[in-house]
Amino acid sequence: MDYQLTEEQVMIRDLARQIARERVVPVRAEMDEKGIFPWEIIKVLGESDLMGLHIPQEYGGMASGALAHMVAIEELSKACLGVSTTYAANALGTFPLLFFGSDEKKKKFLPEIASGKRLVAFALTEANAGSDASGIQTTAKLDGNEYVLNGTKQWITNGGEAEIYTVVAMTDKSRGARGASAFVVEKGAPGFTFGKKEDKMGIRCSATRELVFENCRIPKDNLLGREGMGFLVAMKTLDHSRCGVGSQGLGVAAGALDEAVKFARERVQFGHPIIGFQAIQHMLADMATAVEAARALVYSVARAMESGVKDFSKVSAMAKVFATDVGMRVTTDAVQILGGSGYMKEYPVEKMMRDAKILQIFEGTNQILRNVIGQELNKEAARGN
């Protein structure tokens, strides 16, 4: 379908597609198997200006808008979700700085992020604070001109590799969710170390690691926004990033569909390519329809975000839930169509299926996001619209 992309959006799509084809596809299986972090690819993405699509031009970015960003994520996700997770998590980590950072902090950090020289990570999750983010136990106490952080963040994407971290910690536990605050912490800050690196089912080239803060001292002005705004920062950040996870689901589904169609045209059984059989055709038809529906939703939500709509929690949750469920279903069906070959590492769809699962879990499980959508429906009905 023609989504009437602008000239710039088409350039971004073509560029991301070329990088995916020439630099990601040839190495994705090895990176997956050995858990190699995709620094080489991040470098290329930086040189190609794609690391700064979400960053304003005054801070060295391209300011290409949400839809362009979705298109880039989609293309990278067709090739490798580990790479696109690294890429999208970088934007996730940048959003708190973009929305709540002082001009001075933006000038300091954003140009290096836009050029791909330094990666960012967003740190919210803890052992006892997943879907229930109010369970955060990491604390930050003001001591003179510094905040002192203590606690452990868990499962942090880009952890250890990133040099800039946006971290949510409690400045006043007695106030519950209103006692959280957001900070920017640089790698190398005294008392900031890394814990266990996770061995994962999928997205194995992306880094997932613990952040350990032991009397970690950071300058007072590394606070983003004001004390007590931590949850607002986190929610606004996630509202912006969730559509991107939807685009990852769209991308991996589209990539798996391409593989399934290609295989079904080549594989001959009973004297015919299996794409001629109705059982296969109907599966492919459902997969293709789901991919197109996911794309239509993700692109529409991105356009709504660009248009300046204030509240898009509900629709960005919808884009994430729908498109990542599509990602899981279509990759599973692609493995089925490839049959025994699909189950083998020689073909890319088994990796796609393993990778797709995380999309239904991170940045809000699809169950929690259905709560978000349901609560919004309730609120809207109460308001009478």
Binding site: E8, M11, L15, Q18, R23, E47, S48, L50, M62
Partner: protein, 261 residues
């Protein structure tokens, strides 16, 4: 540092077929690409400019108007400007006439370094680079596989040979031709793509170069294509391994078997 890189638009030979009757390439419907060796030349030109901390890289090409696309692609990669020699008078040029025209254009630009690919994948002559240098009266180093040092007025390179490599020191201006071992060509950037879209490609005609009419195009091309043929496949080959004695005895065995057959 002023650098010129010569770029040729060629049919993608991975997809091209031969017209068996006319002995020519069937170019219809075949996508055009930048000659792959020229991509290495472009990369080298850009990295020399970056190392030198400034300067300009000008890509020049001779060809039909659609060859402009190759120059825009070069600009996407970071080349500063594109110059296209395009004129009916250039049509039918062999390597000599092509080199004469390119050299005339390059002498107007007067660069410090000129980069070409070692050869084009359609003609495969590997003549144009060195011929341009001869017309300009400057040194050339063909088959450059590494740029070792770049300093004021001198460059040290490694030249790939069948049996190893030569280290060559050269003064400037100089012309190099690039082999694929030289570097990994970069991918375009978004800013480059935007610049390429807006770029004005300078068009140069025969009249701009003040070359006598008889020295251009078909009339300036002494090359006659007598016959085009596919070389016969060589016979079977085999590599022997093991100790010297084992190899000698295996070779003797092979030779005996052949004379029996």
């Amino acid at each position: 540092m002023k650098i010129v890189v010569c770029v040729k638009q060629v049919p993608d030979t991975a997809e091209v077929k031969l017209d068996r009757e006319k002995n020519t390439l069937i170019r219809d419907g075949v996508p055009s690409i930048i000659n792959p060796y020229d991509r290495h030349a472009i990369e080298a030109a850009l990295s020399i400019k970056e190392q030198a901390g400034g300067g300009t890289v000008t890509a020049i090409s001779m060809g039909p108007p659609q060859a402009e696309a190759a120059l825009r692609e070069a600009i996407e990669l970071g080349v500063d400007e594109g110059v296209l020699l395009t004129d009916r008078a250039f049509a039918g040029s062999d390597t000599l006439a092509t080199s004469r025209a390119l050299a005339a254009m390059i002498s107007i630009i007067s660069p410090d370094v000129i980069f070409c690919g070692k050869q084009a994948i359609d003609g495969d002559t590997a003549q144009v680079g060195p011929e341009v240098a001869e017309f300009l009266g400057i040194p050339h180093v063909a088959y450059v596989r590494k740029i070792v040092t770049v300093s004021d007025g001198a460059i040290r390179v490694e030249r790939l040979m069948d049996d190893g490599y030569d280290v060559v020191d050269t003064s400037l201006p100089v012309l190099f031709t690039a082999v694929k071992e030289l570097n990994t060509p970069r991918l375009p950037s978004l800013r480059g793509k935007m610049a390429a879209k807006k770029a004005v490609i300078k068009k140069i005609t025969a009249a701009d170069l003040s070359i006598p009419e008889g020295e251009l195009g078909l009339s300036g091309s002494p090359t006659q294509v007598n016959r085009v043929f596919t070389p016969e496949a060589r016979g079977g080959r085999k590599a022997l391994s093991g100790s010297l004695e084992e190899q000698v005895s295996a070779l003797a065995g092979e030779l005996r078997a052949m004379s029996c057959a």
